[in-house]
């Protein structure tokens, strides 16, 4: 169902971000109405090919996957990359309740339904994990395989980082979070610069594309609001029940899975997080370690693409509906 304005409005698209972005993310901008919000996505490759759904987190957008996409397309897969509502070229709602974990997961379910995807290979990074895996569990009959990187799907924060007052809880706190991350633009700005291995490359070749889609304070709301869904206090958590459901669901999930992680990851450290994934999914491949901090796609995007292709060739099946 189209949004009434959609037929009469020119929305900003990839080509509007200039040749620096468009030449390296040379795909057609598409828009879908998901739960009343305008979602930007790309959909490349043969329509009948197995779909690979690349899901980003905070504070990124589809651009994060730009080096991962070409190996998948070259191998013949259909590649779909949505910008989560609140980021990228999707609508950036200012209504706080738009940004619940449930609503973001449901937005992905809506996209999957509208595109009538089946046999999906879910690839989840950061908040693309809790949202994408929730969508996967909701449409499990349409899932073919899953890859996770720098993400989690359980209630308790497993990292000292998420329990430390400096910097995490200070970024998470009332007023200081919106001030530092939102008004002052620490996310995606310096936070992304600090969370890659090759910072010179990040500064010169990539960072402006992240910052250009969150230019104003209101555009950056999700950067500080999304982290508030991380359970840290049993008395006040707003998404603890969803995470409990999510963990139970992924533990019951028995589809081909692979784990990819950055060697230099500082937030979701490999030594803490990957053993949990292997405990949850004993059948999972990996962990494939690549050069990379939290935004490992910036340092090893093409290598990640090759790993996904190798895994998909052995594990991704075409369902009857595809």
């Amino acid at each position: 169902m189209p949004i009434p304005y959609q037929e009469h409005t020119i929305y900003r698209s990839i080509k509007d971000l200039g040749p620096h972005v468009a030449s390296r993310y040379p795909y057609e901008s598409k828009f879908a109405n998901v739960n009343g919000w305008r979602m930007h996505y790309i959909d490349e490759g043969p329509r009948q090919a197995p779909p690979v759904l690349l899901l980003h987190g905070n504070p990124t957008w589809g651009w994060l996957w730009r080096d991962t996409i070409p190996p998948l397309l070259a191998a013949g897969y259909r590649v779909i990359v949505p910008d989560q509502i609140g980021f990228g070229l999707s609508e950036h709602p200012h209504t706080p309740s738009a940004h619940s974990l449930d609503n973001h997961a449901a937005n992905l379910v809506a996209l999957i339904d509208q595109l009538e995807l089946s046999g999906i290979f879910f690839v989840c990074h950061d908040w693309g994990g809790p949202t994408g895996l929730s969508a996967l569990l909701t449409r499990h009959e349409r899932a073919s395989a899953v890859a996770v990187m720098s993400t989690w799907a359980w209630r308790e924060p497993a990292s000292d980082f998420h329990r430390a007052v400096m910097p995490w809880l200070t970024l998470h706190a009332p007023l200081t979070g919106p001030h530092i991350m939102g008004r002052q633009g620490a996310f995606p700005g310096r936070s992304m610069y600090l969370s890659v291995v090759d910072r010179k490359h990040m500064l010169e070749d990539a960072l402006s594309a992240y910052m250009s889609v969150t230019p104003d304070v209101g555009d950056r709301r999700l950067t500080w609001q999304w982290p508030r869904s991380i359970p840290v206090n049993p008395d006040t958590d707003i998404a603890a029940d969803r995470f409990e459901w999510l963990e139970a669901g992924v533990r019951d999930l028995n589809i081909p899975s692979t784990i990819i992680w950055g060697r230099e990851e500082q937030v979701f450290t490999a030594d803490v997080f990957t053993p949990v994934w292997h405990e949850i999914w004993p059948h999972a491949e990996g962990t494939h370690m690549v050069t990379g901090n939290h935004f490992l796609q910036e340092d090893s995007g093409a290598e990640i693409g090759d790993l996904l292709v190798d895994f998909a060739r052995r594990n991704v099946r075409i369902t009857k509906e595809a």
């Binding site: 400096m166 998470h172 009332p174």
Partner: protein, 129 residues
């Protein structure tokens, strides 16, 4: 920069929103500090709280939300004379002073050192702060 609670709203000013947080309930000690400082338990929806930051006054507007403890949300606005433009550089410095006042007031485990170090990591502390 000293931050002082005042009770008299300056006349002939307009309210310019500079920072809002739609949900302050996840660390209840923040709301508790503001409830105590501005006596919100007795008169939750009377005049906004007022803070003087080196001569510039800011108002704190406390917002309720069904199903949440009061205040559920907070807006901070600068009270700017008449139709004069707001000095945004000065506002950033003042807001930083309010952040420090807030953290100091809430107390442990929150600390000025953690706030300042976090801001320095992300290079968002105003130069003169």
């Amino acid at each position: 920069m000293p931050v002082t609670r005042i009770t008299k709203r300056p006349s002939d000013t307009r309210s310019v929103p500079v920072l809002s947080d739609p949900d302050v309930g996840h660390y209840p000690e923040f709301a508790a500090f503001l409830v105590e400082t501005f006596e919100l338990a007795e008169k939750p929806l009377e005049s906004p709280g007022l803070l003087d930051v080196d001569g510039q006054v800011y108002e704190l507007i406390f917002i309720g939300r069904s199903g949440r403890p009061f205040p559920a949300a907070i807006e901070i606005a600068a009270l700017v004379p008449g139709l004069e433009p707001m000095n945004t550089d000065q506002t950033d410095k003042d807001l930083w002073a309010i952040m420090e006042w807030l953290i100091e007031g809430v107390g442990e485990p929150w600390s000025l050192e953690a706030l300042r170090t976090t801001a320095d990591i992300y290079r968002v502390r105003p130069p003169a702060a």
